[in-house]
Amino acid sequence: MPDLRLPIGRAIAARLIVILAVVLLAPGVAAADDPAIAAGAPALVKGFADEGVSLLEDRSVSAAVRAERFRGLLRRYFATEAIARWVLGRYWNQFDAAQRDEYYRLFEDLVVYGYAKRFGEYTGERLRIVRTVLDSNTQATVFSEIDRPTGGQPINVDWRVGGRADVYRIVDVVVENVSLSQTWRSDFSATIQQSGKPAALLDVLRARTAQLKAEIGAAN
């Protein structure tokens, strides 16, 4: 008889352990899967939007100073190097260390001066975060909307955020389903193909960033 009870008792005990394990560990498992980036990604985007708005609304400083402040924002919120590298695609391997360094610098300048030029057009738009979708444990998309100054349907802006632990960065901005990174990548690879050699991209970038920078300086 005890031989019979023992297995039953064991089976029940085993079941209990399983149930306990599920109940007790479930939040832990969920947290390991879902965790930080689900809250971290929207917080990052909100942080960038808030700081961006105060930068845009502060008209007391010169355009050049605002451009450099924007560079600071960019470094804190965006994985600029990862973006620059992906944008270059297969030509990355054809650049030597010095070319890569210069490319990083020029890419950042292109973004900074290209956008800083348009800061004057800002008319008080605000960004609303709609929802966050986890693409993987290390990648999330934050969906947001920006109201148009003229009314009508808001502009959809999706932010792709990547990261681990508590370090997150924006890796792409998708405006009305058009990815900035994707567009740059096509643009850059066409520039290289038109000239026939990767190093020519650096010449074009050098000329363009110098021109943009001069225009911003002149706007003071």
Partner: protein, 269 residues
């Protein structure tokens, strides 16, 4: 066949012949796998010709379209332009409805019908878009998208004279929308349109071109300034935009793009 259709057919024939003569981009050698993959992904075997057409389009734009659009924006106040835009959009309702139905989108077909009824009456011939306030937001639809939903491949990228970025699927779609699905266009195709209607159609097409150009002034300026190769940027933008439209604004998430999780500078957890 009415003159407009014959002209379009003539244009397509001329472009195809020019394509045959002007030649195609030389594909890279297959032994260079990366270069060959990139060539396939760009899907622009007619690039040299397309770039020539793009140059022509830009010249026409600089000479006529852009100045006209600028004048339009300068001389007429925003509410007036909004009204013109709404009327033109309302006129497109039958085309949108036909494509909603052809794609089996019954809900959207209902929205389009409701919008047309409300805006044509309360909205005074489409001048005001009240339907959006009634919870029937505007959406776009065209036969190029319908073909995509039906599974037709897009074909190679095409830069059409005067029309701009396209591909064979969208070019066919544009012709079907303009000459068959559009009631006024269909009457013209069947030579059933009275003289005044033909004239009004030309006015409508002209107004559509000016309206669209005037709506895109900043966007195109931005793209031109921010890109190194305007043609390539426009090509990429057009493809992404069409993909999004085909998926009704919710394209599948990109599987590739920059990532931040595989960078060694990050502290491991």
């Amino acid at each position: 066949m009415p003159r407009s259709v014959r002209r379009l057919v003539g244009l397509v024939v001329a472009v195809s012949m020019a394509a045959a003569v002007a030649g195609c981009a030389t594909p890279p050698d297959r032994s260079d796998a990366e270069a060959y993959a990139e060539f396939k992904a760009l899907n622009d075997p007619l690039e040299p010709l397309n770039r020539t057409v793009f140059g022509f389009n830009q010249a026409i734009d600089a000479m006529f379209l852009r100045p006209f659009a600028d004048f339009y924006r300068l001389l007429l106040p925003a509410p007036f332009r909004e009204g013109v835009h709404n009327i033109l959009a309302n006129l497109r309702s039958p085309v949108i409805l036909a494509n909603d139905l052809l794609q089996g989108e019954i809900d959207r077909a209902g929205t389009t019908t409701g919008r047309f009824l409300i805006n044509s009456t309360l909205g005074v011939g489409g001048l005001c878009d009240w339907a959006t306030d009634f919870g029937l937001p505007r959406h776009s639809e065209d036969f190029g998208q319908t073909l995509a939903v039906w599974g037709a491949p897009e074909g190679p990228f095409l830069m059409l004279p005067l029309i701009g970025p396209s591909n064979p699927r969208d070019a066919v779609g544009l012709a079907v929308d303009s000459f068959i699905l559009d009631p006024f266009g269909l009457m013209g195709t069947l030579d059933m349109a009275p003289e005044w209607m033909v004239t009004m159609q030309y006015v409508r097409y002209g107004a559509t071109v000016v309206d669209e150009r005037s709506q895109n002034v900043e966007e195109l300026d931005d793209l031109q300034k921010s890109s190194l190769d305007f043609y390539a940027a426009l090509r990429s933008l057009y493809r992404q935009y069409r993909t999004s439209e085909i998926w009704q604004g919710h394209p599948p998430a990109a599987t590739e793009g920059p990532r931040f999780d595989d960078f060694p500078s990050l502290p491991a957890d």
